[in-house]
């Protein structure tokens, strides 16, 4: 008898010292973005040194979790197994209301707990307003997903 294939898993983010506060906030259901403590400007992706003020240690700011779809794609197989099982699905880039150059990748879904392919990609529009919800990806890794502001 053939051995059972191991269950397909999503790719996990390699969380490091720079990105840990983002994922800790996600576990609490909050969206936090790194912020320059001298200028107040948001910094993404997070890094040890602020590009705006090298001698001011960067801090973190809780943001509203609201934004608009900047662009999106619909991947089709061949993909890694976990993703192939869910394809075609959407991946959106969301420009945050607080700073539209902070564009977070994620998936637009119908609501909490909904599948990656729960939205018909033909209905997605660049510019449509969305907001963050939080979903456990695997283990204790929680990531933002996105729902239409008009829903949920």
């Amino acid at each position: 008898m053939a051995e059972k294939e191991p269950a397909a898993e999503p790719l996990l983010p390699p969380i490091d010292a720079d990105s840990a506060p983002f994922f800790e906030a996600c576990r609490r259901g909050e969206l936090h973005i790194q912020q320059c403590s001298a200028t107040g400007r948001l910094i993404f992706p997070p890094r040890p040194i602020s590009p705006f003020a090298p001698h001011a240690a960067p801090g973190w700011k809780r943001v509203s979790g609201r934004g608009t779809v900047w662009s999106f794609v619909v991947p089709h197989p061949p993909l890694l197994p976990w993703y192939s099982e869910r394809a075609p699905y959407n991946v959106v880039l969301v420009a945050l209301d607080e700073d539209p150059t902070v564009r977070l990748a994620g998936n637009l879904v119908a609501g909490a707990g909904a599948a990656l392919d729960s939205i018909d990609p033909a209905t997605i529009r660049i510019g449509e307003p969305v907001r963050a919800i939080f979903e456990r990806l695997a283990g204790d890794v929680v990531v933002p997903r996105w729902v239409r502001t008009s829903e949920a």
Partner: protein
């Protein structure tokens, strides 16, 4: 006043490539050595004279391995360039700088890759790589997905269409159909086939993607002075640039003010700084084409048209032989071979030797670019 130390100071005097195929038997090491030896024979230069080397950080064969297979003597300059498809022209540019500054006399650059029969780099991953931390867990897994994201935004902002992307794919395929060494030599492509092909990552379909190829290529550089005494007509490195713009990210260039103004813009600024040829003067171009939209972004970055106008620029056969800007005249990465763009460099040399299978009549200058969307590089070659 900028002193153009590099301008026409070094020349490509030898080129060679292995066959291209979906699967080749020899190792990447054997293929690399074969290509370099053949390029030295093309130049009429002894292997023992090689004292400079440049290749990609992604190249599996390091200088020690290549030197001992070549039977090279003392190597006094060696350099590796990062960022995959962005590296090709920089390998040649670094050798030219080393020759112009006296750090070496005979330089070889190469790329050997078994991407056709080997594994896809993104497959089999258990964890996203560090630079893909913010994107891959969400299913933006492959280079094609990362480029599709910029493509849809580009189409949205400027009204470019799939017809424009098809213009690129069809022009390049037409070039391959005249090149017996191209993987797609015998395979024609129609607009209907393009438009009805399967999606890979919407809005990009199968024919927006490059090939998966086994093969190796190499070229030899010496000073302009020595080049004049060699068998093959010298092809001079007229200008060279590299580009890594502010707040840029490799492939996922999503976190800067203007993601559609990519590394090509920074690279072009440096490239044209010392060049006698501006974009309007170039006879032919070899633009890095892992994906069709990279051509549109490169046409704008290297100044062939204004921002947002690359779609219409492709119309009316502009990219085909006899058009405004014939490009990727060997078939490029999409239809000749995908070897991280090194075939584009060799085709630039053939255009200026007058030996291309899609020869632009009396071509005097050629632009060769590395990949857009990654820290990149470009050359202007002249005869």
């Amino acid at each position: 006043m900028l002193r153009a130390v590099l301008k026409d100071a070094a020349a490509i005097v030898g080129i060679a490539q292995t066959p291209f195929a979906k699967r080749l038997e020899p190792s990447e090491k054997a293929l690399a050595a074969q290509a370099i030896i053949a390029a030295l024979e093309d130049a009429g230069i002894e292997r023992s004279e090689v004292d400079g080397m440049a290749s990609y950080t992604m190249e599996s064969n390091d200088e020690v391995e290549i030197a001992k297979n070549l039977g090279a003597g003392d190597i006094t300059f060696f350099s590796q360039v990062g960022y995959g498809g962005g590296a090709g022209p920089a390998c040649v540019g670094h050798l030219a700088m080393a020759i112009a500054t006296g750090q070496c006399r005979v330089g070889v650059a190469w790329r050997s890759r078994k991407r056709g029969s080997g594994t896809r780099p993104w497959a089999g991953a258990q964890q996203a790589s560090a630079n893909a931390l913010w994107t891959r867990p969400h299913g933006l897994l492959r280079p094609v997905d990362e480029v599709a994201m910029l493509t849809r935004r580009y189409m949205h902002e400027y009204g470019a269409t799939r017809e424009h992307l098809a213009n690129v794919a069809l022009a390049v395929r037409g070039m391959a159909n005249r090149n017996p060494h191209a993987l797609m030599f015998e395979k024609t492509l129609t607009r209907e086939e393009y438009l009805s092909s399967r999606w890979i990552s919407e809005p990009l379909c199968l024919f927006d993607n490059c090939l998966e190829t086994d093969g190796a290529l190499a070229c030899v550089l010496v000073s302009a002075e020595r080049a004049r005494d060699l068998a093959k007509p010298p092809v001079y490195l007229h200008a060279f640039g590299q580009g890594l713009p502010a707040q840029s990210h490799t492939m996922v260039n999503y976190w800067c003010d203007d993601p559609l103004r990519g590394p090509a813009w920074a690279c072009a600024k440096q490239l044209y700084r010392t060049s006698d040829f501006g974009p309007q003067d170039l006879d032919v171009a070899q633009l890095y084409d892992a994906f069709t939209p990279l051509i549109l972004l490169s046409l704008e970055g290297y100044g062939f048209c204004a921002r947002g106008e690359a779609g219409p620029f492709t119309e009316g056969g502009a990219l085909e032989l006899g058009g405004r800007l014939p490009l990727n005249t060997s078939g490029g990465g999409m239809s000749e071979a995908y070897v991280h763009g090194f075939n584009l460099i060799l085709e630039g040399v053939r255009q200026l030797r007058g030996t291309s299978t899609s020869q632009v009549k009396d071509a005097e200058s050629c632009l060769v670019t590395g990949g857009e969307g990654v820290p990149t590089s470009a050359l202007i070659l002249r005869r």
